[in-house]
Point group: C2
Chain length 347, copies 2
């Protein structure tokens, strides 16, 4: 039995295309062994395209992408483009239009990879970041721009509909993990309206998951625990902005942004979910084969898992783990790392 999946590929900016190329190598190698094929369509989106045509994500391309089973994305953003144009017009447009409300970001410490923490302990948690609401909605504006009377607002929008679905997803994930612990992170002592909606929702959904232990932390306190006791976390559920901040910090303490993968999931299988490294486009090292493609490769594993290709997902993860365990610190090119992992994944 062979199965064919339609994969939309958006390499994007900076190191995006380089790391994506390696993730595709690994995907191809694994799919060959698993009787799967990926039909790839590349979409030329990002800074170069914007400079050429002014487009960020035209409707026809969005519709074309929608016809795929999944999206593999490299990285978006370039210093030659005004900040926000590509982020809002391309990356966030994909997340919002395709209603990727579960932004999943696992963090784990590989014993062989150094952590900047002296005693990190055994770290293995996942952040479930809400992906379609909060301060990311683009619901603000500015008046009298460039004058001393300028006023700029940003509105965080939070709905019971949006919060409940992601909270329920996080509880289900916590329930399926051995430790069964869920920590809500917010700032409900200051952002009382949004914060209380989140808190009440967690308290309500908790009654459906009596085996999951529930905890609450203010976002500032959560950053403290991430450096003093990261092993305490199992599943963290949080809003879009807090999730953005916590997952970069989580990546840093678990050996760096070169290893941090993410999934932007819409559990409705008729809509493609999107898989991307947590890291950005790193324009300073772009095109130099200096980027670590591991995060992109692990994102491809999350992609397989989401498509139900559990064998492929485990094969990629095992290949990455084996590669990481043998890292000596000697520098390798992006392609060398990709090749090494590909070889293991195919073997």
């Amino acid at each position: 039995m062979s199965k064919n999946f339609k994969l939309a590929v958006v390499g994007g900016d900076g190191i995006g295309p380089e790391v994506t190329a390696e993730a595709l190598k690994v995907l191809d190698a694994v799919s060959a062994t698993q009787g799967i094929t990926f039909d790839k369509t590349e979409f030329d989106l990002g800074a170069a395209r914007w400079h050429k045509t002014g487009d960020t994500l035209p409707d026809e391309e969005l519709e074309a992408i929608r016809g795929h089973d999944a999206i593999l994305l490299g990285a978006i953003g370039d210093p030659t483009v005004p900040s926000g144009v590509l982020e809002r017009g391309l990356l966030l447009k994909l997340r919002f239009t395709l209603d990727h409300y579960v932004n999943l970001r696992p963090s784990k410490i590989y014993p062989s990879v150094g952590s900047p923490l002296a005693n990190p302990g055994e770290v293995d948690f996942v952040v479930v970041r809400e992906g379609t609401e909060g301060p990311y909605v683009g619901n603000g504006g500015a008046l009298r721009v460039g004058t001393p009377a300028e006023i700029a607002t940003e509105v965080s929008v939070n709905t019971a509909y949006g919060v409940e679905r992601v909270v329920r997803d996080a509880f289900a994930r916590a329930q399926a993990r051995p430790r069964r612990k869920l920590t809500l992170v917010h700032k409900n002592n200051v952002l009382v309206h949004a914060g209380h909606l989140w808190k009440r929702t967690v308290d309500a959904v908790a009654t459906e998951f009596p085996e999951v232990a529930v905890d609450y932390l203010h976002v500032d306190a959560a950053t403290i625990f991430l450096v003093t006791d990261p092993a305490r976390f199992d599943v963290i559920v949080t809003d879009n902005l807090f999730g953005d901040i916590l997952t970069d910090l989580a990546a840093a303490i678990t050996g760096g942004i070169g290893l941090a993968a993410s999934a932007n999931i819409n559990p409705d299988r008729s809509v493609p979910s999107m898989f991307e490294p947590v890291h950005g486009s790193a324009p300073d090292i772009a095109g130099q084969q200096k980027a670590d493609p591991t995060a992109a490769i692990l994102s491809a594993a999350l992609l397989c898992e989401h498509l139900g290709l559990v064998g492929a997902a485990r094969a990629i993860e095992a290949a990455v783990t084996a590669d990481i365990e043998e890292r000596t610190g000697a520098p390798r090119t992006t392609a060398e790392i990709g090749d090494a992992i590909t070889k293991r994944a195919a073997g």
Copy 2:
């Protein structure tokens, strides 16, 4: 020549009164040696008062506090009070009404104090957190609360007026420090309206401070550098919410929240500024003499500095540094630490 200062004291909740008592001990000892006196008025505000009377900060008491030269605050917040009531009704009411727009939070690693980081390097920076705008303005609301159709918003308000004054203050501080470096932290690739106001303001004010090197980081990237290379920072200027998050993280990497002091400054001397530890009320250890009063004591040093009592400020800092250097790890009570620092400060 003796000088008398009127000091408003708000011990507050949890460990607040305990740590404040030690800060006052030190202040009294130092002032005796410097020919200064502090006339203290205690204000009974916080959880107990709220339970008794329902008051958080009545107008007459706010006016009475306004008549003082400075405010020394312990900590606010208690689990028996709905989250936000005391924070918004007391702590933030003081910061906002007294227009404490410079929330100053120094971070430095004392060589004798452990950091959770394996190789922190020489860390000595200060966060200038905006204190009167951003998502803290309380400018949101909720509709259809408790129903599946609930919507909750939080509005971040940012003005050229508010941003420029704190940015100018931060540049002046950077200019006066040996490294002369200023890093703006925001999220201008997503929060484009507020973020661009901040960025344009920093770029404009930078022309007045040509000797200060300017840098920009997204808040998520800033958390990474705080754990991988905190020594790179000199002065960080940022908004109210990002400043809240970054300063807890900064405290964590520099040996913990027990040492982190803060000043809520209104540079207009006719209005009292407010000095408080960064830590919260820690109700779990309240009344047990387990809290470290060092952050409160260092906040008293910031208070002296603000009042122009530079000798007193240096004496307190020196006493704290000497105490910290001789810490053996053997537990001491709150009062024992306070007494030891008092003795050194008076000596």
